[in-house]
Structures are given as structure tokens and as C-alpha cells.
């Protein structure tokens, strides 16, 4: 009989899906970044790095956890690479060419342009110098890069109908990006490595305020607050300057792209400022050709460098000359950039042999050198002798300067980013375990955001946001956006104290905009759910409204009233009854105003209205709503008729009880 179900959920479905985050690399460690995120049926791999500390299978992420049978095309929707560093891209050619992933790969233009050279340099060192079995060939790199789709910062890329990605400038190295990823209502950001402060050649990371379920951030410097990169750059420049002033030679072993240009732009700028005439050389492996990449990608550098493009592109190095082998033993100071980095062989090794024995000279080393290279040996302590091979030993007397300006954000930067984005959840990767734990605690205690720091091969599940999409009628939208002013008067009793509360005069009439969207959500079979305004609803149904109201007619004993009134009012009994009656309503109004705190009481002459409740004098002899038994003497009672609707049920009965209280003596 009661054909009504309450609380049932019909066509509108609520997905209670989660975002699943599988950390394949850089979990509680620095090295081989790789995180696979599943959200709303899409699976995205962020970074595909290699761990250069290992030489066995451990250098690659454990890809078998993505797909047991190696069907990676089905298992992954796409791969996103944040920047060209090997710990973020090193395993990519292996994954695409050896493991056979053929789906789309996204990275920024500079990353796509510079990555092949990075990969090739690494491959050469591994294979040619160390005689390792190669994991991928040069052709593999070329083939792999063909699958890459280059993206611009802020460009909204629709990977498929549901998956959208967008790159944001990350600062770390040329072309480094954070990636915003959105599927349906769920959204995450994966930062890769980033830098929150600008430096000499790159800008600071920049991102919009986004609604995020999850932020996956690097945490290299999870607990350190570092001085600016400027300081450490200045140290490097000072060391170089000191060396050349003393007539020494500076050897900077680097690979063709990346560090070479980065350091060279520093030196160029410094040479200019200090008016130095000492030559800066590029060895033959470092052709000017390589600088061409940087020249074309100048819009990805810092504002200051960027602005130079028209007058003189900052990567058109003015002081740089080509180096000839015969100059190795030529006298006089100079600065030489030589390949390969890490002094793993080739020309940089040749020069090193010549220059290392003199204490006047300087060798700079990057923050990382692969194990087994001369660079690696130089980094561990300060050896005075180095074994070149089993027969030859070399005296190392030169100075060694280790470059320490790896452009990562510090703890403050991470906290700033987390606070700025205010995601619902944070996952830390790419850091050292104890420091990450500290940062995790800070994020939870200071920002109140849940935070995880999973180890490699662990999965973290976090809930994701969903919205229910429905239609909404114009009337509903309009009425919801219209201001809904609510005027309320201060009730008289607290007038005296509160109006002057805090020395401030509170206005007697207060106006509030109580805008609220109220409507009815209608769901019909086969149609999209739609919200309509109350007024439209019945029209839509084609039904007539059936108004249910309440009514109540009750007497008020006016004996006391008569006494107080008789002096003021004229003596004619007939007139008395009429004029007397007309003054009763205002009296009720005063009484109500006194006793009913809050509420918007309005007096319209014929009736008093509070919300939907109205009361007026009942002049009928037999009112149908006069349910209460009349007092015996009709002359002494005046009847009042009330009406209200269900919304004000409580209020109505309260007012009635106030009015029925017949103590009018105080009036």
C-alpha cells in the first residue's frame, strides 16, 4: 500500500573506487624513479629510471609487477617521463625495445630533444668502457624516442577520452616537468624532481592551484633547509677563478648535453662580469652543434636568460673556443670542457693524465659518477694515487672541486608546495628513509594531510573523489544564484546589552544572504537525473498541488484587557467592541515580539505573520477550526484564527502556547 522506498539508490551510481599507487622505484631511496598509478581504470607509469648503483636486474624497476605475462600494452595506458636524468629515463629504451611496451610515452620537448644524447652517453660508458653486456643499443634509443609524444608546459593533453595530462614547469633541469593527471573526477600530481627557487639558468617550479586527491613528490632534501643555489654556484666560480688566476688549468669532464651548457652559461656570465680573457675550450666531443639544442629551447630557461634570444642567445657562447689535442700541454691557464663525463675514458681521461699531477690545476666532478670510473675513485676520499689500469699508476696532486648544486627543492620548498596544492593525500618518493619519515610526520602534523612513504614494490591505496553528474534546470540555477536576503531583527530582550556589545553598535535590523540551492532531484528511467526547482516540479509531473495546512482557532480571555483598556476607549459598547478588538492584534504583536526571540515577526494590520504562520482575529460565530471548547462566557473571549504549513510546525505550536498564556496583567 505504501509504495514508497526511502533511502534507495537508483540509477545514480556511486563509485567507491580508489587510486592505487604501486612504487616500483625510488621508494625510500634515491634512484630509478618509477611509480605506476591506477585510477578509474587507467594505469599510468611515471618515470622509468635506472639505478646506476646496481649492475644486475636490480638496476631496473621490477616490470613484472605491472603485468605478469609481459602484456604491457594492455596493462598501461601511457608512460610519462618528467626529465632527462638517467634515474628517471634510463630504463625506458629497455622497457620499450626489450620488454616490448608500444603504447604512448609523453615528455616535454626539451626532454625528448636531450634524452637520446644522455642515454647514448650512458650506453657508451657502460658498454665500451666497462665491457658490460648491453641492455639496449643505439638503435633501441632511436626506436624508443620515435614513440615519444612531446608536450609543452600547461598544454592540456587528452591521452584518451577520459585521461588528461598536463605538464607544469619544474625548474630542476631544462625541460623538467611536474605532471598533473586527471581521470574523471580523480586528479593527482607527480612532481618528478623540482626546484622551488630560480637559479641562474632555470626558473622556479610553477603550478596552478589544483584540486588533488594525491600528490606524489620527491623528497631528496626531506629535512634540509638549504641556502640558495647561488651560493654554491659562486663557490664553483670562485674555485675556477682562483685556479686560472694562479695560472692553472681547469678540467671539467662532462657529457655532451646538460651540465656542459649549464656550467658554461655560468662561466660565460662570470667571464663577462669579471672581464676575464682566459680561454674556455670545448673538446671535440662537445661540438657547438650540441649547443644548438639549448639555443632553440631557450624559452625553457629562466626569465633573464630567455630575454637574451634576440640580441645574443645566451647559449651562443662568446668566450668558448674549440680545443685541439696539441693544446693539452701548451702553457698558460685555461678552462676545458671534455667528454666523457665521469672520466671514464676517451679525451677527458687523456687530459686528466696530463693535468692531474700538477697542484696548480683543478678538476671538477659532478655529484654522481658511475662506479668503476676514475671520477668515482676521485670522489671517494682524496686519493693521491690512482690506478689507471693494473700496470699504470697516476699521481693526483691537483685540486678537486665537487659540484654540489643539484637543483632539488629543500624541505621548505616541499612543504610550501604541499601547502599550496593542499591535496587530500601525499606520497613521498625519491628520498632517504629516515628523513622521509620525519617529513611525513611534519606534513601530517602541520598540514593535517595524510602522508605515506612506501618502499619499493609496495602499493598504497587512497580514496578518490567523485562527483555525481546531473542536469539542472535554468530556474533552479537562477534561483540558487540569486541572493536570498534574510532580514532579522534583534529581539528586544538582548537589545540593551548586545547592541552595544564590544563597544560596537549592532544594527537593529540585520541582513544576511542565506543563499541556498534548494530543489528536487528527479530520476526517471532511461533519462539523465535532473534537478528542478520546486515550482517547476509539479508542472513537470502534470499534477496539481495538494496543499496541506494546519488551522487552529482559539479564544483569548480579555477580562484583564478590558479593564486596562476601558479608560482609553470611548463608552459606546458597540463601538467599544469593534475598536477594542482592533487593538488586540497589536497587543499580541507586542507580546510576541517580546517573547519570541528571533524569527521575523511581521504585522500587517489584519494579521500577524511569522514565516508561514499567520494569526488574525476570527469574527465568525462558528469557525470550523474552533476545536477547543469555548469558554462559557463568549463576551469575554476573543477568538483568533491561526494557519500554518508543515515547515513551521514547531514554531506554530510555540507561538500558540505563548498566545494561549492568558496572563495579560502585565500589559
Amino acid at each position: 500500500m505504501k509504495a514508497r522506498q526511502r533511502g534507495s539508490q537508483k540509477e545514480i551510481k556511486f563509485h567507491s573506487m580508489a587510486i592505487e599507487c604501486l612504487v616500483l622505484g625510488a621508494g625510500q631511496q634515491v634512484g630509478k624513479s618509477c611509480v605506476v598509478v591506477s585510477m578509474n581504470g587507467k594505469r599510468i607509469m611515471f618515470d622509468c629510471g635506472m639505478d646506476m648503483a646496481y649492475h644486475d636486474h636490480r638496476r631496473h624497476p621490477d616490470f613484472s609487477r605491472i603485468s605478469e605475462y609481459g602484456d604491457f600494452d594492455k596493462a598501461l595506458t601511457c608512460i610519462v617521463i618528467t626529465h632527462f636524468h638517467l634515474d628517471h629515463i634510463g630504463a625506458l629504451p629497455y622497457f620499450t625495445e626489450v620488454c616490448g611496451y608500444r603504447g604512448p610515452i609523453y615528455m616535454t620537448y626539451p626532454t625528448k630533444a636531450l634524452a637520446p644524447s644522455m642515454l647514448e652517453d650512458y650506453r657508451k660508458v657502460m658498454v665500451e668502457r666497462r665491457g658490460e653486456e648491453e641492455q639496449f643499443t643505439s638503435e633501441h634509443i632511436v626506436e624508443c624516442m620515435k614513440k615519444v609524444i612531446a608536450v609543452d608546459v600547461k598544454q592540456t593533453v587528452q591521452v584518451d577520452k577520459d585521461l588528461m595530462i598536463r605538464a607544469y614547469y619544474a625548474g630542476h633541469v631544462l625541460g623538467a616537468a611536474m605532471f598533473y593527471t586527471k581521470v574523471g573526477d580523480s586528479a593527482i600530481v607527480y612532481t618528478g624532481d623540482y626546484n622551488m627557487t630560480p637559479d641562474r639558468h632555470l626558473g622556479a617550479a610553477q603550478i596552478d592551484r589544483l584540486q588533488l586527491d594525491l600528490l606524489i613528490t620527491e623528497s631528496t632534501y626531506a629535512t634540509t633547509i638549504r641556502d640558495s643555489k647561488y651560493g654554491r654556484e659562486a663557490e664553483f666560480l670562485k674555485a675556477v677563478h682562483k685556479c686560472v688566476l694562479g695560472g692553472g688549468k681547469v678540467l671539467i669532464p662532462t657529457f655532451a648535453l646538460g651540465r656542459a651548457q649549464e656550467l658554461c652559461i655560468l662561466l660565460e656570465d662570470y667571464w663577462e662580469r669579471m672581464n676575464l680573457k682566459i680561454p674556455i675550450y670545448f673538446s671535440s666531443g662537445l661540438t657547438m652543434q650540441a649547443n644548438m639544442y639549448y639555443k632553440m629551447l631557450i624559452s625553457w630557461t629562466s626569465q633573464k636568460v630567455k630575454e637574451t634570444y634576440s640580441t645574443r642567445n645566451a647559449f651562443d657562447f662568446k668566450h668558448v673556443l674549440n680545443f685541439d689535442r696539441s693544446m693539452i700541454s701548451a702553457p698558460g691557464p685555461c678552462v676545458l670542457f671534455a667528454t666523457p663525463g665521469w672520466i671514464s675514458g676517451g679525451f677527458s681521461l687523456e687530459v686528466f693524465k696530463q693535468w692531474a699531477p700538477s697542484e696548480m690545476n683543478l678538476i671538477t666532478l659532478p655529484g654522481y659518477c658511475a662506479a668503476g670510473t676514475i671520477g668515482h675513485k676521485l670522489m671517494s676520499g682524496k686519493p693521491s694515487k690512482i690506478d689507471l689500469d693494473k700496470d699504470t699508476q697516476l699521481d693526483v696532486r691537483c685540486q678537486i672541486h665537487q659540484l654540489s648544486f643539484s637543483p632539488h627543492t629543500d624541505a621548505k620548498g616541499i612543504m610550501d608546495l604541499v601547502k599550496f596544492l593542499s591535496p587530500k593525500h601525499v606520497i613521498l618518493v625519491h628520498g632517504e628513509k629516515p628523513k622521509m619519515a620525519t617529513l611525513k610526520g611534519r606534513i601530517y602534523s602541520e598540514l593535517g594531510i595524510r602522508c605515506d612513504d612506501p618502499a619499493n614494490n609496495e602499493t598504497v591505496c587512497i580514496p578518490s573523489t567523485h562527483h555525481v553528474e546531473v542536469g539542472a534546470s535554468n530556474t533552479f540555477i537562477r534561483s540558487s544564484l540569486n541572493p536570498n536576503f534574510n532580514f532579522s531583527k534583534m529581539s528586544s530582550e538582548d537589545e540593551s546589552d548586545s547592541r552595544l556589545k564590544d563597544g560596537k553598535f549592532m544594527p537593529w535590523l540585520q541582513v544576511k544572504d542565506e543563499r541556498a540551492a534548494e530543489g528536487i532531484l528527479v530520476e526517471e528511467k532511461g533519462k539523465r537525473a535532473k534537478i528542478v526547482h520546486l515550482d517547476e516540479f509539479l508542472l513537470m509531473l502534470g499534477e496539481k498541488k495538494h496543499d496541506i495546512r494546519f488551522a487552529y482557532c482559539f479564544p483569548i480571555n480579555t477580562d484583564n484587557l478590558e479593564d486596562t483598556k476601558s479608560t482609553d476607549v470611548s463608552s459606546s459598547s458597540n463601538a467599544l467592541s469593534v475598536s477594542g478588538r482592533s487593538s488586540w492584534l497589536p497587543m499580541l504583536y507586542i507580546k510576541l515580539s517580546d517573547e519570541l526571540s528571533g524569527g521575523n515577526i511581521q504585522y500587517f494590520g489584519e494579521q500577524i505573520q511569522v514565516e508561514s504562520f499567520s494569526v488574525s482575529l476570527c469574527l465568525k460565530d462558528r469557525c470550523p477550526y474552533r476545536i477547543v471548547d469555548s469558554p462559557p462566557n463568549k463576551c469575554e473571549a476573543v477568538f483568533f484564527c491561526c494557519a500554518w504549513s508543515i515547515a513551521d510546525e514547531k514554531l506554530a505550536w510555540k507561538i500558540i502556547s505563548i498566545l494561549e498564556n492568558r496572563n495579560y496583567g502585565t500589559l
Partner: protein, 698 residues
């Protein structure tokens, strides 16, 4: 609502529209009609200056004696000659109907191309103009360079004629205009005489700077949200580097604005039409097919959708990308190069006042390559105040170029050949014709690229004066403009003139396949295309035709907006199932927000008063059944009796139900409502529940 302010004319003068979206007024492009500059006389050079000055209009007329008037009147009917041109500092003509609009009511300005930006400083310097301006990063930069170049070329006039008076120039006065030949008068006044108000004295360099500060620049496919309601994105149109089409998503309708677009351009990123798929409305504003049609004698056969209705979506998409037009453009460039080579071999120079960046860069590459192959050692000069910056700029924007050029980035080669040409000293770039370096360097024969295509401004004027008498020299002009009028001040012209048209948009046969792929619900096409592109009844979309200065009302497609309900709010829903209809309903209350082009409903800050089971329906409908009511009441322990027919005047009678037990109450059931009267709150509440159960309610 859509209003086309101007159909424009050709590549350099794109159309201009005003569109009303979600209550916001959007202006698309704000170009200048630079072809109108041809009514002015170029700055005289050398000897000619002295001769011309006697007749020039800048000399104050002492009296306007009748002889002079009759003499001038006789000229009206005759063909124009150089003396008819206005000798004064030129004014510039903006879009004809724009000055009739109150610019302070414009909310958003979308700039699709550098050409569509040239009139913008006129808007931004108006007090009360407060619209948000969007353009791609490259459009803004190239537009800025073009405007700066315009200002610097204009300086030459200022220097010659002296500072302008702030008043109305003489040539605009009615008596003066009456004396001008009719062709000239038409340029000034327009066909309907309404265009006089569109003439403006040129903006200053400061105006340009101020204007650029107001432009918010975008990357391709970058999202911006205007006022929470409109999500605006720019997608490449392929016409030039950085030019774009627009996608505007609002809560009620999604719109695609298509400016002149090229599917497979040789330099710029190609036309990204996929991004414009599935919009509700396509405003088709590529009018380039109208310009080129006039020159074609055989005309196009009428196209109908019949031929395409059988085409699948994929076939349509495929037909858009055929490379024939790409090859055609290459052919043109080859031909141009061979003509240039002929002139050079005859010791003539080649003057190319083509300012289209893409054409200019490609020609530069082609010509230098053909010089190389024919081992002609001839210098190439580029003379313009912004040339150096322009050439440098094109080489640092790989993200904005076509796939082939991007490949050059990935292989580490310069994006355009001019980088190497400059390095090898084959290409020389100078800011002006009188730069000292140019004078030292100058060699003839040579090839010169310089502005301005209207032949009234810039280095081209000087070089034309120099070479116009040389029959071996060659002038390359873009067709589509009145060459006769343009060359008037340089008569007699001995120089060879080659007029060339370049692809400037979507060709007529591709319009239908494109719309087929885009699948909009409504297409807005220019009236002029009504006869050229015919649709059959089987169209999946409706077509409206717009014409200049007429407002088109676009019908609303949806009667509802999209709205997203937060999950926590959705979980509070208390569904009711309606008896008769197959329908579930629930009351909902929350806070409505507008963000990112969507409406969002969140549960407000205040906890809703009664989200427990206590919430009661506030609205009822249906007809109550008395017997059911009585039986429900009796189940509740309420005894009642019915008193029928108290109805007044025999109409539908209200019936009254009396309740005596447990307490007194009365239920008056009428046609449109029920009144419950009970002695106390409890009983009233119970009766309400009974009523509620026999009616539908929410």
C-alpha cells in the same frame, strides 16, 4: 547571440565577431584594414618630393576658388592618378562596426592571429575598456613586433609632414571628400557611407606597450577559466606560427570558433581540428574561400552533402589531410624562385614586400637554395626595424611548429635555414634603408624582403622609387589587393610585377568534410557561403547563416545545465519512489558554486537541520482517497467519521473528517488542499503523517 562586425578581407584583415556566451560578450579579433592605406600618397623621396610638394594637400588652401573646384570635379570620373592620393599623415581604419559598440560592455577579447591584433591598442586605450584579452604567446609576440614596426614606419610620415594636429584632418572633411575620385571616396566612407567613424590616427609605441600588458598569453591547449564559467582554450589553426582557433566551454554550451585554418602547413603547427570535435556550436569564420573564388573563372561546382553523406567519418577525416594543397604551395614557391632567378640573371633586383611570416621564411629558404644550386652569388637583404628579432624569435619556438620542423629540433639542427644563412653572410638583416651598415654592404642586383605590402609604408617605398624604372627588376606582390591602386604613386612602372596568391585558409571543398568530422549541433556559416556550400535535409546539424552587422539569435540547445554533486551530499539523499510514474525523487539542498565552467553543488557549511528520518515532505500532490485515509487513521488508533457534502453551491464538495477519539480534530479535504485542525500538536502531526502517506509528496 552572434554578430559579425566585419567579414574582413584576405589574410591581413581577418573577420571580426561579437558573440554572447552565458551572458558574457566575447569579441573575436580586432584587426586593421591596412589595404585602406593605399589612398594615401607614400612619403616622397629625393627629387620627387620637391615636385610633389607643390600639389600636396598639406599646403593650406588660402581660398577654395571655384576654378579649382571645377578642375577637381572633372577628375572624378577619370581614372585615378598619383595626384589624387591624399598627401597627409595617414590615418588607420579599424573594423567598420566596432566603433558603434560600447567597448566597456565587452567582457573577453580573443585574438586568433597577429593580424587580428593590430587594432587592439585602439581598444585598450579607451577609458572604460576592461575586457580580459587572450592570445597565444606567439601571436602576442608577433603582433607586438608587427605593431612596433608599423609605428616605426609611420614615423617617416610624421617626420615629413610635421606633428599632426589633434583635430580632424582636412581630407576627412566633407567638401574635401567630395572632390576626391569616387573610388577613393568609397575607401574612406565605405559603400554605405558609414565607415568614416572607423578612421583613427595611429597609436603610439606607448599604446602598444600598454596594450601588450593587458594581454594574457596562452600556450596551445592551455586552459584558462574566465569568471568561473567559461573554460577557454586555444588550438593551432595552422595559418601562421602561433595562430589559433578557440574552444569555449560553458555550463550550457560548448563553442568552437574556427578562423582561417590550414590543414598541413609547411611551417606552423597544423590545424588541430580534433580538439574542436563534438562542440554544440561551430562559428565558422574562415572566409578565405570567398577571397580566392573571384579569381577563378571556371568556378566551383556546387557542393552538396550528398557526396559526403556516404563518406564515413574516417574518410572525411582522411580527405582533409590530402597533401595536394601543400604541393600546390610548393609549386608556387618554385615558380617564384625561378622568376627571381631570371631577373637576377638579367642584373635586375628582386623586391619582395610580403609580410606573411610563413611565406617569408619559406621563400627565404627556397630562394637561397635555388641561388645555391644555380650558383648565383647575390646578397639577400631583409630590411625592417624588427627583422632581427623576428628571425631570432622564429628559431626559439619549436613547440609551435609543424612536425617536420620539430624533427629538426630533435636532431639538433636549426629550425629554419635563415640561421645558417646569416652565419654564412648570405643573408643580411638591417633595421632601415639608411642604416650605415647597409650602405657599406649594399650590392645590386640583390633580393630584398621588406615591409610593407600596402606599398605606402616602410623601406619598400624607397626601393620601389629606385627600381620602378628598371624593366629587369621584379616586384613580387600578394594578389587579392588592388595592385593598380597600390602601384599608382610609382607609375610609370617598368618593373615586372608578379602577383601571387598563397593559401590562406580552408578551401571550399573541404568545408563539408570538416563539418562532417567536427559534428557540431549548430553551424554558423557566412551568408556568402550559402550558395557555395549546400546542405541537404539529412544534415545531422542545423545551419545558420550570418551576415555583416546583423545579429543572429542562436537557439538554446539544452534546457538544462550540467551540475556536479559532491559525493557527501549525494549520500544524504532520501529517495522517494513515485507511485504512478517510474520515477525517483529526492529533495536536495546545498551550496551552488560555479567554477571551471561547471556548476558544483556542495553540502553547505551549516549542517542541514533535519537530514535524519525526521525530514518531512513539504509539497504534496494527487487526490487523497478517503477510505484509505480512514483505515490508516484507525491503524494509528484514531477514530474518525466522514461528513460529506458541505460543499458550497453544489460544486466539488469538500468533505470533512471529524475525529473525536483520542482527541478532537477536524480534517477538511478539498480539491486543492487539506486543512488539519487538531487540539494539540501530537494529533495534528499524526494526521499529517496519515495524509502524507496517501498523497505523493516531496
Amino acid at each position: 547571440m552572434q554578430t559579425c562586425l566585419s567579414k574582413g578581407g584576405g589574410f591581413h584583415f581577418p573577420p571580426c565577431h561579437v558573440l554572447n556566451v552565458c551572458g558574457f560578450r566575447i569579441l573575436f579579433d580586432c584587426p586593421l584594414d591596412l589595404s585602406a592605406l593605399t589612398i594615401f600618397s607614400p612619403v616622397p623621396t629625393g627629387y620627387r618630393a620637391v615636385v610633389d610638394e607643390k600639389d600636396s594637400d598639406c599646403q593650406p588652401y588660402s581660398t577654395l576658388d571655384s576654378d579649382c573646384v571645377t578642375w577637381k570635379r572633372q577628375k572624378i570620373g577619370k581614372p585615378l592618378d598619383a595626384n589624387d592620393l591624399i598627401c597627409a599623415v595617414p590615418w588607420y581604419k579599424i573594423v567598420k562596426y566596432l566603433h558603434l559598440w560600447n567597448v566597456s560592455f565587452i567582457d573577453v577579447v580573443l585574438i586568433s592571429s597577429p593580424m587580428g591584433m593590430l587594432g587592439l591598442p585602439f581598444l585598450t586605450r579607451i577609458k572604460g575598456f576592461s575586457a580580459k584579452i587572450y592570445a597565444t604567446e606567439v601571436t602576442a609576440r608577433l603582433g607586438q613586433l608587427m605593431m612596433e614596426d608599423l609605428v616605426s614606419m609611420h614615423m617617416e610620415f610624421r617626420q615629413f609632414y610635421g606633428p599632426e594636429g589633434s583635430t580632424f584632418p582636412r581630407w576627412m572633411e566633407e567638401e574635401e571628400l567630395d572632390l576626391r575620385p569616387s573610388a577613393l571616396r568609397e575607401v574612406v566612407l565605405g559603400k554605405d557611407g558609414a565607415e568614416l567613424g572607423g578612421w583613427m590616427p595611429l597609436y603610439s609605441a606607448a599604446d602598444v606597450k600598454h596594450c601588450l600588458q593587458k594581454v594574457q598569453t596562452l600556450r596551445y591547449a592551455e586552459e584558462v577559466c574566465y569568471n568561473g564559467k567559461l573554460v577557454i582554450k586555444a588550438f593551432s589553426s595552422g595559418l601562421e606560427i602561433g595562430t589559433c582557433n578557440w574552444s569555449i566551454n560553458g555550463p550550457k554550451r560548448d563553442i568552437a570558433f574556427i578562423s582561417s585554418s590550414i590543414f598541413v602547413p609547411a611551417h606552423a603547427m597544423s590545424f588541430d581540428y580534433h580538439a574542436l570535435q563534438g562542440k554544440d556550436i561551430v562559428l565558422y569564420s574562415d572566409l578565405s574561400s570567398l577571397d580566392t573564388m573571384e579569381g577563378i573563372e571556371d568556378g566551383y561546382s556546387f557542393l552538396t552533402t550528398d557526396s559526403f553523406s556516404t563518406l564515413s567519418w574516417e574518410e572525411s577525416a582522411q580527405s582533409l589531410l590530402n597533401t595536394s594543397e601543400h604541393l600546390e604551395e610548393r609549386e608556387k614557391l618554385y615558380y617564384l624562385c625561378s622568376c627571381a632567378a631570371d631577373s637576377l640573371k638579367a642584373s635586375g633586383s628582386v623586391l619582395i614586400p610580403i609580410n606573411r611570416l610563413g611565406t617569408f621564411i619559406q621563400l627565404l629558404e627556397q630562394i637561397s637554395a635555388s641561388l645555391e644550386s644555380s650558383s648565383l652569388k647575390v646578397p639577400i637583404y631583409v630590411i625592417s626595424s624588427v627583422a632581427e628579432e623576428l628571425l631570432a624569435y622564429t628559431n626559439v619556438i619549436p613547440e609551435w611548429l609543424c612536425k617536420e620542423r620539430q624533427e629538426k629540433l630533435f636532431s639538433g639542427e636549426p629550425l629554419f635555414a635563415h640561421v645558417e644563412l646569416i652565419k654564412d653572410n648570405k643573408l643580411h638583416v638591417f633595421p632601415t634603408v639608411h642604416s650605415p651598415k647597409l650602405l657599406i654592404n649594399w650590392q645590386e642586383p640583390c633580393i630584398v624582403f621588406c615591409p610593407h605590402w600596402c606599398l605606402r609604408l616602410g623601406p619598400v617605398v624607397h626601393l620601389l622609387h629606385r627600381w620602378s624604372g628598371d624593366p629587369n627588376s621584379l616586384l613580387v606582390l600578394e594578389s587579392g589587393h588592388d595592385a593598380q591602386l597600390a602601384l599608382l604613386p610609382f607609375q610609370p612602372m617598368e618593373m615586372k610585377v608578379l602577383q601571387c596568391s598563397f593559401l590562406s585558409g580552408i578551401k571550399l571543398p573541404k568545408i563539408l568534410p570538416l563539418l562532417n568530422v567536427l559534428q557540431p549541433k549548430i553551424t554558423l556559416l557566412p551568408e556568402d557561403l550559402r550558395q557555395k556550400v549546400r546542405f541537404t535535409n539529412v544534415n545531422p546539424f542545423s545551419v545558420f547563416h550570418y551576415s555583416e552587422n546583423k545579429t543572429l539569435i542562436i537557439p538554446s540547445l539544452k534546457d538544462s545545465s550540467e551540475l556536479e554533486i559532491a559525493t557527501d551530499l549525494a549520500f544524504q539523499f532520501q529517495w522517494r519512489n513515485l507511485k504512478h510514474e517510474n520515477m525517483n525523487i529526492t529533495r536536495l539542498k546545498g551550496e551552488l558554486h560555479v567554477a571551471h565552467g561547471k556548476h558544483w553543488l556542495h553540502s553547505g557549511n551549516k549542517p542541514s537541520k533535519s537530514n535524519s528520518s525526521k525530514s518531512r515532505p513539504l509539497l504534496h500532490w494527487g487526490t487523497p482517497d478517503l477510505e484509505t485515509l480512514l483505515s490508516i487513521l484507525s491503524k494509528m488508533g484514531i477514530n474518525a467519521s466522514v461528513e460529506q457534502g458541505v460543499g458550497v453551491e453544489g460544486s466539488k464538495k469538500a468533505c470533512i473528517v471529524h475525529v473525536h477519539d483520542p482527541k478532537k480534530a477536524l480534517i477538511e479535504i478539498g480539491d486543492t488542499g487539506t486543512v488539519i485542525s487538531a487540539v494539540d500538536e501530537n494529533l495534528a502531526s499524526l494526521i499529517f503523517e496519515a495524509m502524507d502517506s496517501i498523497l505523493d509528496g516531496i
